[in-house]
């Protein structure tokens, strides 16, 4: 009986400690730009021997920017690994002061951070006005069902893409038109002319979202002519159309477009069917 009580007490102590840890596992420095910048400096002084520069792979340690598993870890788990090392691996205890470790944690998390995690500065409300107004973004893009559908849905753009990706999409022409957004003009064997976006195509079929926002499914023998346009419908000169402040405000608005779902449990397996 005594053994049982001791075991029970140990369990209780374990769960109490675990509960406390869960409550404390957020980074006290948050994900501030300053913490990330300082963290990068500390990281590149202390961690690159094994992990490589800027989150790339090193000689002995994994690339921290490459795998989703690091982004999934709670802040406290990354902190523990840096502070104590990882038993059974080459990962040593860092010997860094706690606040420096939290900065490193902020930096490691930023390597895989999406725009919505990055707290992009700017006037969000004015950015929203630009989106629906003079930016004319909604002619082709949708947010939560409002807007045009020829361009990609932006309802979760901040939750899916990095800040850099969104900024580049607005200011740099992509090397190639993304699949699913290829502008085309087709002439059917009946002589009907249609323009729109090829959602998909191959030698034998073409799936068209036409300029009237209708899906049209064709086999190639139903088409007399298909003209592939060389330029994306997406302009890439918003750094010239807008002032720097306006562009930043638009980016701040877009970065906050994220779909909030259920909270991920600490050890969830994302690929579980």
């Amino acid at each position: 009986m005594k053994v049982i009580w001791m075991t029970a007490a140990l369990f209780l102590a374990f769960f109490a400690a675990a509960a406390q840890r869960r409550a404390d596992n957020a980074n006290p420095l948050g994900n501030s730009e300053q913490a990330i910048r300082q963290g990068q400096e500390i990281y590149n002084h202390n961690c690159t021997v094994c992990h490589g520069l800027n989150g790339a792979a090193g000689e002995r340690g994994p690339a921290l920017a490459a795998g989703r598993e690091y982004a999934r870890r709670k802040d406290q788990a990354i902190f523990d690994a840096v502070q104590n090392g990882i038993a059974g691996t080459l990962m040593p205890a860092s010997g860094l002061p706690a606040m420096d470790i939290w900065k490193v944690v902020a930096y490691i998390r930023s390597l895989r951070a999406t725009a919505s995690d990055a707290l992009v500065p700017g006037d969000v409300a004015y950015g929203e006005q630009i989106f629906w107004g003079k930016g004319r973004c909604a002619e082709c893009h949708t947010i939560r069902g409002r807007g045009g559908i020829l361009g990609p849905d932006l309802s979760n753009i901040g939750g899916q893409q990095t800040f850099e990706h969104i900024r580049d999409s607005l200011t740099k022409a992509p090397p190639q038109i993304p699949r699913g957004y290829q502008p085309v003009e087709v002439v059917t064997t009946g002589g009907q002319k249609l323009s729109g976006i090829a959602k998909n195509d191959d030698n034998f079929s073409l799936q068209l979202l036409d300029s009237h926002e209708r899906l049209q499914l064709f086999t190639r023998d139903e088409l007399r002519q298909v003209i592939y346009k060389k330029q994306s419908l997406m302009p890439s000169d918003y750094d010239k159309k807008f002032t720097a402040a306006e562009l930043q405000d638009l980016l701040a608005f877009l970065s906050r477009q994220a779909i909030q779902g259920a909270e991920r449990p600490e050890e969830s397996d994302e690929d579980q069917p």
Partner: protein, 548 residues
Amino acid sequence: MITFSISLCLLAVGLSPAIAQVTYQDLLKASPHNWLTYSGSFSSQRHSLLKQINQSNVQVLVPTWIFHVPKADHLESVPIVVDGVMYLTQPNEVYALDGRTGRVIWQYRHQPALGKGPNRGVAVYGNRVYFTTPDAYLVSLDARTGNFLWQSKIAEFKDGFWSPAAPLMLNGKIIAGVAPGDYGMNGFLAAYDASTGERLWRWDAIPKPGEPGSETWADDSWKSGGGDTWLTGSFDPELNLVYWGIGNPAPDFNGELRKGDNLYTECMVALDADTGRLKWYFQFTPHDTADWDAVEIPVLVDAPFQGKMRKLLVQADRNGFYYVLDRTNGKFLHGAPFVQSVNWAKGLTPEGRPILAPGVEPTLKGTKICPSTSGATNWMSPAYNPDTGLYYVAALEGCGINTKSQEKFRPGGFPFYATGYVESPAEPRQLYIRALDLTTGKLAWEFKQIGSTEYGAGLLSTAGGLIFAGCDQGIFTALDAKTGRPLWHFNTGQAITASPITYSFKGRQYVAVEAGSNVLAFALLDEAKSAGRAKDKAGLDDPHVVRQ
């Protein structure tokens, strides 16, 4: 080029979309060219009026395309088809495919991708697609692009809920259910506004103290009573009643922990579609201790019963009995076993209550119980052909050895079975396709699925006089609806655990089925076209030369 871009964008603004608009009238009419609901129509008969593919030509049915669903394991969704566009799911994902070619039009991934599968498919309405997720959300997408519109939380994922059933769309109102009762969470059905996702009503499958039915739960056992709603129901628009089968009580195998009949587990319930109020219920297995969820698809048929036209609801239940009910009031009309492996009940009373065989319940050492917990049938859909008057069902013979234990409910999504079962080695399992007379349940014919000891593949009936059936061997078979004689078969290469559908587009009928991680579509070999193309393009007479 820039001019083109701008003009195209401008054209897009202000124009209303013209295709894939599914109306309530479309859902009522259930045109055979489309497959608009999980069971093909509100009545869930799974009988299509298409007959381009029929008994005279099914021998030249050929695969037209195969789509592999990345990372899929055993798909269980029923594809929905609207004007040639096919929508299908695996957990957390929706695909829109070109129904003629299998080419992807769009893909949507719900994130974070949490929880468990399976997922059984979408519902459609207007220009929208709806599906439920392993973290118990109802999600609405634009049917043309997969663009996100809204999502509503059905239940708390952190409590252990998920939502596998294809939601059922009514008139601008969509109904979703939850799983798992096996974890002791109490099930419910909820209706949502199809435009906004706002919840309109909720019906709880386990009554709270003081409510009718609460007297069927001893002590506090109702608190972890189960009764989930994991398979799509049916709808009678005239009666305005939604019919839905309710899952097992929890803990599954130890009834001592929940004495009483345990309403409304193991019931067919009829709910008012506007309010969610219970109109009637019929309990197939009171105080179930074998995990025989009564979720099997309710099939609605208007037919003469003993000389009088009746609105019937028929169900082959997991407990081994076939039931005929009056769907206006839930009255039991007839019941009979549709498998030979039934030892738990000697028969049914005039009210449809089982006459229990003594001592056939789980014990510490194990008791043989037939059918096994896998059930005489399960989620695989049955079908009804009004031309033959026959009801078709995938039936599994076999028994289990069931045991019980003491177990306490733990909140947060943990199994609450109070032990379980193993298949009885003395009665090896065997899968059959059986055709039953609608009103008597009398066996008209059976087709033995040789080598098949697992279930999962549902049935499709067509006006071409065919029954399409799959099995765990991966063989997809067309049977003569009148005799059960096999007329055609195809080895899909993977176990089939979903129900087939049919549709037509631009004059050609297709039959589609999911097998393992693939979706396959079949159509008649177009010999004339193949020969013509070969001559045109290659100058050859060989009809098998394909144009390049």
